[in-house]
Amino acid sequence: MSQLSAKAIDFPTVVARWSLGALFVYTGLEKGLDPVSFLKLVRQYDMVQTPFLLNSIAATLPWFEVFCGALLLAGIAVRGTALTLTGVLIPFTGVVWHRALILQGAKAIPFCAVKFDCGCGMGEEFICRKLLENAGLILLAFWLLAGRGRILALRYSLSAGD
């Protein structure tokens, strides 16, 4: 009975893991199959001047996301993957926020009226909605970091003792 209730508690976390994984696979493929468009979007942030670095980010970040998304879907190295995605999401959200502030200043419009394609794989979005989405994704990643969602996982942890 206690095992059953533990699984019932765990199940929403598994759905969260699958949702986060599927989202990263989808958005990663959207960008990875059209790296030129993603390259142009990365360039708009004007944060990287070296061609090799700019190309490397545009060429590899989408596939990096696909790989991490696939790990979450399969339930492999879940906490390490969640930590990795947190490490990607937090700085990226800051960069998107900064870009939105620049656009807000240039267009002299309210912050939430700023709409642009941030290179997130979902096309043009209003910034406030985007920031809320990212906050939700970061919370999901933290939830997975807490150590739940281990049912239906191929190899929840790479650590032998776990």
Binding site: G32, L54, N55, L61, F64, G80, L83, G87, S157
Partner: protein, 212 residues
């Protein structure tokens, strides 16, 4: 049930994930037919911001009160000039399209968008040149451009800088900069003006033009 695994073990796991994901990502890019060339400079800076000699006459400014459209066009024109290239507007592009030299190959139009957009519709007679994958068309286009009097390069228009960089690619490949012009309004402006279009491969015939 939550695990008591140590923080350092999670960090180590993350490091392994990052390393594996990075290897996968570089391999995927190398194997993908759409992959980027990591060492290539896709956005080269112009070496000499010098405007080419005016082979195409510029229309005189007729209205002091610039509309938003005018200011956008001016911004595009400034961007092109900053790269040392000659911007031309729709009327000039249209004149060159109807110039008898166009049929003789002495005026060449280059479409700098990707293959899919080119196939959906392009200015009739324009040659495709996707600067991100130039291997396919650059050699042939270079021969045409070098023997032409004037080369007009366009992409989507507006914020699209692919025409600018394609013109620079042609310049670096040996086409004299004086021959190169960039149609800043691009394909979007051309098609919105209900001017002739061609779909599919070059020479496939005019596409129906929507009535105004």
């Amino acid at each position: 049930m939550p695990s008591r695994i140590s923080t350092s073990a999670i960090v180590l796991e993350a490091v392994i994930v990052v390393a594996a994901a990075a290897m996968f990502a570089f391999a995927a890019n190398a194997l993908s037919p759409h992959g980027l060339k990591l060492a290539r400079d896709y956005f080269p800076r112009s070496a000499s911001p010098v405007i080419s000699t005016a082979q195409v006459s510029q229309p005189a400014a007729t209205n002091a009160a610039a509309t938003t459209e005018d200011s956008e066009a001016a911004e595009i024109s400034r961007r092109i000039k900053d790269k040392g290239l000659q911007p031309i507007d729709r009327a000039q592009t249209e004149r060159l399209f109807h110039d008898p030299r166009y049929l003789q190959g002495l005026v060449v139009f280059i479409d700098a968008r990707d293959d899919a957009h080119y196939a959906e519709g392009h200015i009739p007679g324009a040659y495709p040149l996707d600067r991100y994958h130039p291997e396919k068309d650059l050699a042939d286009d270079l021969t045409r451009c070098q023997s032409a009097d004037l080369v007009v390069v366009y992409c989507t228009g507006g914020d699209c800088e692919d025409a600018d960089y394609t013109a620079l690619l042609l310049r670096d490949a040996g086409v004299p900069i004086q021959k190169l012009s960039v149609y800043g309004g691009g394909f979007d402006e051309w098609s919105a003006s209900h001017l002739p279009l061609e779909q599919g491969v070059r020479g496939s015939g005019l596409a129906p033009v929507e009535s105004k």
